[in-house]
Amino acid sequence: MEKAVKKYSPIFVLPTLLAFTIGFIVPFFEGLYLSFCQFTTVKNAKWVGISNYTRVFADEAFLHSFGFTVKYAVVAIVLINVIALGLALLLTRNIKGTNIFRTVFFMPNLIGGIVLGYIWQILINCVLALVGQPLLALNSQAGYWGIIILTAWQQIGYMMIIYIAGLQNVPEDLIEAAQIDGATQWETFWKVKLPMIMSSITVCVFLTLTNSFKLFDQNLALTGGEPNHLTEMLALNIYQTFYARAGLQWKGLGQAKAVLFCLLVVVISFAQLKATRSKEVQQ
């Protein structure tokens, strides 16, 4: 049986491989090529060498959006994961109505980013108007915290489910043994549960990290980068370079930014995976 599977494996892989090639590999290399070109439509590109890349590093708005994204990512990753884990711990204690709570916390994740962005824009603007502060379009501080609150609200439920699954997989006998040895609640959590759910942590940190760097919808809908690109994140900056600018020189620049962006996300994710994987324990 196994032999037969091995023999025919290329045939089974073929459809997915084809889709992956058409949908990812070809566009990726075409994109890489276009980042060295000047073009309006992808069919009509003129090779210009590395000038697009040198211009990327002279683009202040892009560098600022990188800094802003990093600032956002650090706070968002910590906040989302700590709260999600906290909720997961609470909701694995057989409290009454656990299922209702889990459902409610998970729900925001089902709403699209654009819709959430506009809803939170109205909410935050109302609050800002009540306390007499400048509204979102003029207030980069509020914009920054707004994006964090929005994405935390949206993603905590999702991460919580992953943590709950992880916590439920911690063997009861381990916890029992720890308690018999006289471990306190905190020690059980810190020394037994946490190492046992390292794989969930790897997944959640990976997801929040890549989500943070790729964040687009929420940023577009909530602040649109206002005021003056101060709350513009990497993905939005690339989109604006590509679509909001008229002229031959912008498309290639946007493409170069996109290639750098892709590399950045890949490198950071791999580094993170490596770092958290090394802490995982085998049961």
Partner: protein
């Protein structure tokens, strides 16, 4: 059982392949060519579809009209142009938009439709080549509710200059509690409305500067920015809402205020007639005075930012078919009726029909009375980014009206112009 399943799956696959093959569109005959129009104006989609159908019935030439979603034109155009069946007819919004698509624009010189055009001021001409021709002329100014104006004790005849407008508006503000309405509808700086100020209103100081100082590509002096500030102050401080709230106010908010009779003035153009249909009989359009130039003879702001371009990379047969279609649109009875009556456009072509739009009729009457229209020079603004920078600064100034904040507007207007021009043409 497994065999049956495999058979079923194979059958389903074969069926879907057949279905795909069957639905493939019949290839148009090569020698006649075909027309594919990527339309910019969603509000006129139905009329364009009808016109395309009428043309196909009359001549047998297939015409496809696809309308891009509002605000998505450039992205749609970019995607469509990469296809084998690219649009043969598309539009750009002026010299800045042309920069993107110059390589794709067919030279209209010598074509029938270009010969029908009322004048070269309606064409996009660069390096001696006619890259685009305007197909609709629009007008904007200050839309005023005469009924409310009368209730406040004025008529539009009392407003013949910026000083008059200011006096009337400030008087209405002083008595707004008693009158029950404000002078200006909210000058919303949300994306659905901010173009009225960062683009259309900014056109006035720009146009007057071009007139008195001449045009130097790449630089503006900001000669009339104090007047820009004066009218912006007037808008935001005599309005239905607190200026600090303007950043979140939308275009719909202003329309609602007008329809509900909460404000007398609303800066917008002929295209707003549809939104205001409920109260159109009470409305009139007055010139946008900013206190510069010969105000006694100032007319409305008239111009175009919608230019037809024919895809030069299409086959010659398709180009010819497209030019023939355009010519039919602006000369045949059906075409003219569709464009001028059904769509309500004022078209800059020799055989244009009279429009039904009330504001258009007023604009024409004003030109007939010898008033000089203010041209549309905002298509020369160096980039969208420039408009956004000015818009942001205007919003910030509205929320906190200090000299420093106004200096930021001036800086973005003048220095931003030079910087953006250098970026766009560097």
């Amino acid at each position: 059982m497994k065999k049956l399943l495999a058979l079923l799956l194979a059958g389903a696959m074969a069926l879907s392949m057949v279905a795909c093959g069957g639905s493939e569109p019949a290839a148009p005959e090569a020698e006649t060519g075909s027309v594919y129009y990527l339309n910019f104006k969603p509000e006129q989609d139905a009329q364009w579809q009808a016109l395309a159908e009428a043309y196909t019935t009359e001549t047998g030439v297939p015409v496809t009209v696809v309308t891009a979603a509002s605000g998505e034109y450039e992205t749609t155009l970019m995607a469509e142009m990469s296809k084998d069946e690219a649009p043969t007819l598309f539009q750009v919004n002026g010299p800045v938009g042309l920069a993107n698509w110059k390589d794709y624009c067919y030279d209209f010189a010598g074509s029938d439709v270009y010969n029908e055009l009322s004048g070269d001021s309606f064409a996009l001409i660069e390096d001696g080549k006619v890259y685009g021709i305007a197909y609709v002329v629009e007008t904007y100014g200050i839309i005023a509710n005469t009924k409310l104006l009368e209730a406040a004790g004025y008529t539009t005849a009392d407003i013949a200059s910026f000083a008059d407008l200011k006096a009337v508006a400030e008087d209405i503000t002083a008595r707004s509690a008693e009158l029950g309405f404000a002078a200006f509808s909210s000058a919303g700086m949300d994306g659905s409305s901010d173009w009225r100020f960062k683009t259309h209103l900014a056109n006035l100081p720009l146009t007057f500067e071009y007139q008195t100082e001449g045009i130097t590509p790449g630089t503006v002096k900001g000669t009339y920015l104090d007047n820009y500030r004066a009218i912006w102050d007037l808008y935001i401080n005599n309005s239905t809402c607190d200026p600090a709230e303007l950043s979140a106010k939308t275009g719909n908010d202003a329309v609602t205020e007008m329809v509900e009779g909460k404000a007398v003035f609303y800066q917008n153009g002929t295209w707003a007639a549809g939104d205001l249909a409920a109260i159109i009989d009470d409305l009139t359009m007055i010139p946008l005075y900013i206190g510069v130039g010969d105000e006694a003879n100032q007319g409305l702001c008239t111009g175009s930012e919608n230019y037809w371009c024919v895809n030069s990379q299409a086959s010659q047969a398709d180009i010819d078919a497209t030019l023939a279609f355009l010519n039919w649109c602006v000369t045949s009875e059906t075409g003219l009726n569709g464009m001028c009556k059904e769509m309500g456009f004022v078209i800059p072509f020799a055989k244009a029909l009279e429009a039904d739009n009330k504001f258009v009729q007023e604009a024409n009457a004003m030109i007939a009375a010898g008033k000089t229209p203010v041209g549309w020079n905002f298509p020369t603004m160096p980039s969208e980014e420039w408009k956004n920078m000015v818009g942001s600064a205007l919003t910030a100034y509205a929320a906190d009206q200090t000299d420093d904040n106004w200096a930021a507007v001036v800086k973005n207007f003048v220095d931003g112009w030079a910087a953006e021009y250098a970026l766009a043409n560097g």
